[in-house]
């Protein structure tokens, strides 16, 4: 089977800071990483390939330096990497991004065989929208399975896949026809360490680099800033709240004990309340 995994290179948000005066994000010197959610998608894709055979193609859109994250993905064991890079893509919002990526996936299908499954992470840690995956599915007319926690089974002969999807209040078991798009939930697997052969391949592989034209994109008005209706009006750092929630251990306690403890905790925080309430109770 052919699996395409769409990943994104993002700044390591654990090491990012907001400038105290200008309120802008200080990107200088911040290392870049593969969007952590995408790693769960990539690992799941590699597991499917190992179990059922086939190939994994990783795809990203970004500046030339995004090659680093593709090489890392190859080091984990991906078979092929495609970098979509062109100045026309600069300033893309989720609409323009999903357009460009869907066009590239169509082109990948033409050149290396149509994908059975397209994977993305649940969302990115820099945009946090979770829109690009579903956007790709819609544009490519793929069935979409979002927030997938587990791939229960796959039947290549019947062209069917069964997954468990995390949703509010429980887990859904969903069956879909292939090809489909899956956005993978975090914590569902653990990224492997590539073998020495994977590492050697990654160091030497040629990464396929496509411009907009090479990816077969004709309508450039749908790309980059021009194709992006989203406008960022302001970026600001919320003022941190110093108060923390008080947690009370409920194990092995009667309701009365809990109530007493609760009231006690409130009175410690708000001593002014105590005489008032005591007075009313009396």
């Amino acid at each position: 089977m052919h699996i395409v995994v769409s990943i994104k290179q993002v700044p390591d948000s654990a090491q990012i800071r907001v400038h105290p005066v200008t309120n802008t994000i200080m990107r200088q010197g911040v290392p870049t990483i593969i969007n952590p959610y995408d790693l769960f998608a990539l690992e799941e894709a590699l597991r499917l390939r190992d179990a059922y055979g086939g190939e994994v193609t990783v795809l990203t859109m970004g500046p030339p330096m995004a090659e680093d994250c593709l090489r890392k993905a190859l080091g984990y064991g991906a078979d092929r990497a495609v970098l979509l890079t062109d100045r026309y893509f600069a300033g893309s919002d989720t609409l323009a991004t999903s357009f460009a990526l869907s066009q590239a996936i169509a082109k990948i299908g033409e050149m290396f065989g149509p994908p059975d499954v397209v994977f993305t992470g649940k969302q990115t840690i820099d945009g946090d929208t979770a829109q690009v995956g579903p956007g790709i599915a819609k544009r490519l007319d793929l069935f979409q399975l979002t927030y997938v926690a587990k791939i229960a089974s796959i039947d290549l002969a019947a062209r069917e896949i069964t997954v468990e999807r995390r949703c509010e209040g429980g887990t859904q078991k969903l069956k879909s026809r292939l090809p489909c798009l899956i956005t993978m939930l975090e914590g569902t697997n653990e990224m492997r360490r590539g073998s020495i052969e994977d590492a050697l391949c990654a160091a030497r592989s040629r990464i396929v680099k496509w411009s907009a034209a090479e990816a077969g994109i004709e309508d450039l008005t749908k790309c980059g800033l021009r194709g992006s209706p989203t406008v960022v009006k302001r970026v600001f750092a919320p003022t941190p709240r110093s108060q923390k929630a008080v947690q009370i251990d409920t194990a092995e306690k009667t309701l009365r004990d809990l109530a007493d403890e609760l009231i006690g905790a409130i009175f410690t925080r708000q001593p002014a309340l105590e005489p008032e309430l005591a007075f009313e109770a009396a």
Binding site: I196, D198, A199, L200
Partner: protein
Amino acid sequence: MQMIKEEFDAIVIGAGMSGNAAAYTMASDGLKVLQLERGEYPGSKNVQGAIMYANMLEKIVPDFRDDAPLERHLVEQRLWVMDETSHTGIHYRSDDFNEVKPNRYTIIRAQFDKWFSRRVRGAGATVLCETTVTELVRDAKGKVIGVRTDRAGGAIYADVVVLAEGVCGLLGTRGGLRKMLKPEAVALAVKEMHFLPEEVIEQRFGVKGSEGCVIEAVGTISNGMAGLGFLYTNKESISLGIGCLVSDFAAKMESPYALLDALKNHPSIRPLIAGSEVKEYAAHLIPEGGYKAIPQLFGDGWVVVGDAAQLNNAVHREGSNLAMTSGRIAAEAIIQVKRRNDPMTKRNLALYKTMLDKSFVVKDLRKYKDMPALLHTNARNFFTTYPRLMSQAAQNFMRVDGTPKIEKEKATTAAFIKARSRLGLVSDAIRLALAWR
């Protein structure tokens, strides 16, 4: 057991100065080179002050000035002897250092090593990061024929393995190529990066453009141990650190960060770093054993270079240039053996040692062969007593308080004799002179 069928001419373990120099030199000559580095990227594990000596790098990468990330070229060197409240110093500054191809630069290793590694890859070597070599693979006769790593997939084979694994040299010691590092033959240095705007650094140190200044200091800052403090100016930061022998740290139960904190608060240092933001701190070991600590440098199928070979000149505070040069010379020896189509045996690889002996690397280390022992056994005198006496003498000389000059000089002389006795002074002077010779 699975194995990688592909075979390399050489495997270089480590992507520091010596490893990069070796890998670059061999790959440039057309050898099939694999370099393995345990860090996330080359330089991520490497710590140095750092001063880089242009001449030695020029011999390897002649056009390095075109694109290497260099911080400042040095025009001023300050050597300080410090006591608790003062420093007595020699400053040397010369406009001659403002030459077209300057002699010394400050660098930040994390960036510099990334650049060097790009050049290594550009020369045709295959570089794998996040790959730790766990074991040397030997044939039935004990010849090293490859390595095993912490990745799945078995051993990788090569005609020769260059151990550029750094000061701890765990692989070589585990493989029985040399003895474990002794605490008295290694220093622990800690440093912080203090960020300051470029113009503040220029004002404080009286430099402009890419000019830079360094301070190196001994004295009571090392709290009676054999040690050295340093302050290097980078473009927008100051590297400030101190290092002492590990055996001294252990004997004194002194903590390295306490020394560094004291140095930062010294009245001579504090104003130089005032208002800075510390964004980074690091610690690393430095080989200090000198000539007598150099281990066996070659064997059947292997050579050892750089810090792993203890090639560090403590007196002149040179390490990276000895590392680079040993890496280059080892590579050149390997290239010669390869050209003659000879096997990489101990006998043939002895060429590396012959070539290294003729270079400044071994000549310099031999010159100071007795220095480590002298400074380490007399640490208290050289690093506390004399600095205090020197400060007293200088203050006696400078302070005008109505005491007749003859009495002042007598007081100075008396202080020296009281502290060290005539015999002690003479013997320290003779031993120092002998060790220096």
